[in-house]
Amino acid sequence: MVTEKRGEYLLRLSLTIDPAEIGVFYPFLMQGFQVVVRVGCSIRELLCDQFGIDNEYVLGRITTVFQNGKAIDDLDAAIVRDGTRLTLSAAMPGLVGATMRRGGFYAAMRGSITHKETGESGLSGGGTITMKLFNLLLPELGPDFLKVGIGVAAADLADFFAKRPSTFWRGCRQLLLDGKPVEPERLMGGEAFFGEGTVWLSVTCWKEDKEPARN
């Protein structure tokens, strides 16, 4: 996966946190985050080849997929384009859950909002897409996306840090802004992102790194 927008400078924030706190970042993954990818490929190629998600997991677990709000039945046919919004979910309950299922028995019931591929692959090369992860996929895929990095709105990030309790900051072992240590107060006050549109956020859990010392 490409990790930054092509030709565009992004402020990069890297956090090393208490693993117990990883869930507080999941709302970013639900609301939508940006990733930079090679576009012009199929959704399956994006998920398996670029993101490195196991094909069996994709087929068996990611049973509900939307592209730009339309339900996807064929992961190989649907093409990822620059600006695509791609939403991934595990199996959903209810008739509507079954209806939204990829290639499911009740797909006809949402025929009017089913994605129909035009066949034109669009431009290939780098592009930025918006992704959303829902439900069981949050704990299963979320930490990897966060580790590699996601683009989030600076204003949302400032609001997020302003609401973090002291226990969150005590669990942080490393805070780096563009590779340099940054004090929590600058993140909590939002001045670290002032004037930025998007921030490239990467989050690592310290147990994976054997608890590195803070800064």
Partner: protein
């Protein structure tokens, strides 16, 4: 379950109890029993709140056994909300206890003179109907608290709140959960108003001294139940998704699909949806010391409910379900879970259907009574319902009445029952069910997603849009059958995807009754139930012209997909041609 108790509330000299053999209703349970009895015994043109109507309370075919997921209770009558036949079901403990007491049904008949309020106590020794005017105008939580002082904690309770006593058309009947909270409701269609019209405030079910219902073939039944439970536990929906997030896990997906009706069906997406999502709700419940995983009755292995605590960590309500979070949330432009949870508690306490109530408030917002998004205003309106003010009585009579009183054109109802949380312009197939079901707009009328394995009506190509009529028909048939078993509808995911789990269900039914049960038998049962319901509705004056969605679904495209409901009338008329 070899007997039926009939309680004539209007008998001369006071209520009279008659217990007789189950007779022609032998082998039936749940919706099959309630609907066949109502269709045969109730005059279809009667006033739903009059003496001619009957309220049938029936456990499912497997309720009261050691089988898992068998705790649904059906309540049937002529609906005061829709004027159609009605079956409304709920979880909780009542079905299991009533079945162990041996009753295939308890039927409330007649209507007493005077102002007395009654409670009904049922145990192994018989049935007592007792005047208890101390329960007057108490809501469900205080009613149960008071009754617990008298009857203790080893019973199951059914009750109505003040909405039922006032005969409001959205009134529900509450069933207590394992913790004896009145959180499980036969919600739809105003069944609580019918109980209120018969002046019955509460039913106390005590199965002390009774045993589990014994299967004809215990070994086979035990083996089938084990396989059935294994199937539920290994399926990602019933074994993981529902226990982790509950039904509200649908909020994010429906919103993404543009099928989440917001601001009284003016849009298909709600900006605050992620704040209302099941993911956010589950995390909040856990953070506050509640739980996101809880069963509504003993023997449930899916555990799709939860406990929602307030900011101070005190119990507020059970985990609000998706449809409740939608009706009080996005439908009303409210994006705050605490407000939704408070409204859910008030619904349960007052005793009203959460869908009908939330939709009615949204319609009132459209009329300008309060603004969309007004959290305190929504709670204030619910207090009006609780107090029985004129405005509260209008709102508590549902969305259709509210729309008429305030001159609102966009009123999302079919046969005067409010649409649930799925916009039929985005998901056309569910609109077919909303329009044509015998029950008024009801997502659960076509919910049993096991039609592929049941082979109801043959195979349908899932990728052809013209199959939607067949799909809705088949779903309604399968649902009518499962509603009769007493099984929770959520088992459908596992039996749809796992043939061995479906076979285990058939084996449970077969080994319990000592018969061989096939998919064809299940289909035949579903058709029999639907035919009886359709016949009742026809005699009650309903025609194909009532099997339609409100016109705004045909005329107003909904964003983001800018779709209208496109099914033709003549196609809708084909749903029940089998």
């Amino acid at each position: 379950m070899d007997k039926i108790a009939r309680i004539d509330m209007g008998a001369a000299g006071g209520p009279k109890v008659t217990v007789g053999p189950v007779g022609e209703y032998a082998g039936l349970g749940g919706r099959a029993l309630t609907s066949l009895l109502i269709a045969k015994e109730v005059h279809p043109l009667c006033h739903a709140l009059g003496a001619e109507n009957k309220l049938v309370i029936a456990p499912g075919m497997l309720s009261g056994t050691t089988g898992s997921m068998t705790g649904r209770l059906s309540v049937g009558c002529k609906s005061p909300l829709t004027g159609t036949i009605k079956e409304s079901n709920a979880g909780g403990q009542a079905a299991q206890v009533l079945a162990r007491l041996g009753y295939a049904a308890v039927v409330l008949e007649g209507k007493p003179e005077g102002d007395d309020l009654y409670k009904i106590f049922i145990n192994k020794d018989g049935i007592q109907v007792i005047v208890d005017n101390s329960l007057k105008l108490l809501d469900n939580y205080p009613v149960i608290e008071k009754l617990r002082g008298e009857y203790g904690d080893k019973v199951a309770y059914m009750s109505i709140g003040t909405a039922g006593e006032r005969k409001l058309l959205a009134a529900s009947i509450a069933c207590t959960d394992p913790e004896l909270r009145p959180t499980r409701h036969c919600g739809r269609g105003g069944v609580g108003a019918v109980m209120g019209a018969k002046r019955v405030k509460a039913i106390i079910l005590d199965d002390a001294g009774m045993k589990m219902r014994p299967p004809v073939d215990p070994d086979k039944y035990r083996d089938a139940n084990r396989k059935f439970v294994e199937g539920l536990r290994k399926h990602p929906v019933t074994g993981e998704g529902l226990p982790a997030y509950g039904t509200n896990v649908l909020t994010n997906v429906l919103n993404e699909a543009g099928g989440y009706p917001a601001y009284n069906f003016k849009g298909g997406q709600f900006p605050g949806s992620e704040k209302l999502s099941g993911e956010a709700q589950a995390q909040l419940e856990i953070d506050r010391g509640g739980t996101a995983t809880h069963g509504c009755h003993r023997g449930c292995v899916i555990q799709c409910s939860g406990i929602y605590n307030d900011k101070d960590g005190h119990y507020l309500t059970k985990q609000p379900e998706y449809e409740t979070v939608w009706s009080h949330g996005g439908h009303c432009g409210i994006d705050d879970l605490d407000t939704v949870a408070m409204l859910d508690f008030m619904d349960d306490n007052i005793g009203v259907d959460t869908i009908e109530m939330g939709v009615a408030i949204g319609v009132a917002m459209d009329a300008g009574i309060i603004e969309f998004g007004d959290r305190e205003g929504a709670i204030r309106l619910m207090k009006e319902v609780q107090q029985g003010t004129p405005l509260g009585r209008v709102l508590g009579s549902g969305a259709a009445v509210t729309g008429k009183v305030f001159g609102v054109e966009r009123v999302p109802v079919v046969k005067d029952q409010a649409l649930p949380a799925y916009d039929p312009r985005a998901i056309q197939g569910i609109g077919v069910t909303y329009a044509t079901t015998t029950q008024g707009a009801d997502h659960t009328a076509g919910y049993a997603i096991a039609t592929n394995i049941l082979k109801v009506g043959g195979d349908v190509d899932p990728l052809k849009t013209e199959g939607q009529i067949e799909l809705s028909r088949n779903l309604q048939i399968a649902t009518a059958a499962i509603d009769s078993t007493g099984m929770c509808l959520f088992i459908a995911f596992a039996i749809m995807d796992q043939p061995e789990t479906f076979q285990a269900l058939l084996d449970m039914l077969g080994s319990f009754h000592g018969i061989t049960m096939t998919g064809d038998d299940v289909v035949a049962l579903g058709k029999k139930v639907l035919s009886a319901e359709r016949d009742f509705n026809t005699r009650a004056g309903f025609t194909r012209h009532h099997d339609r969605l409100p016109r705004f679904f045909y005329n107003e495209p909904i964003a983001p997909h800018n779709q209208t409901f496109m099914m033709k009338d003549e196609e809708l008329d084909e749903v029940f041609n089998w």
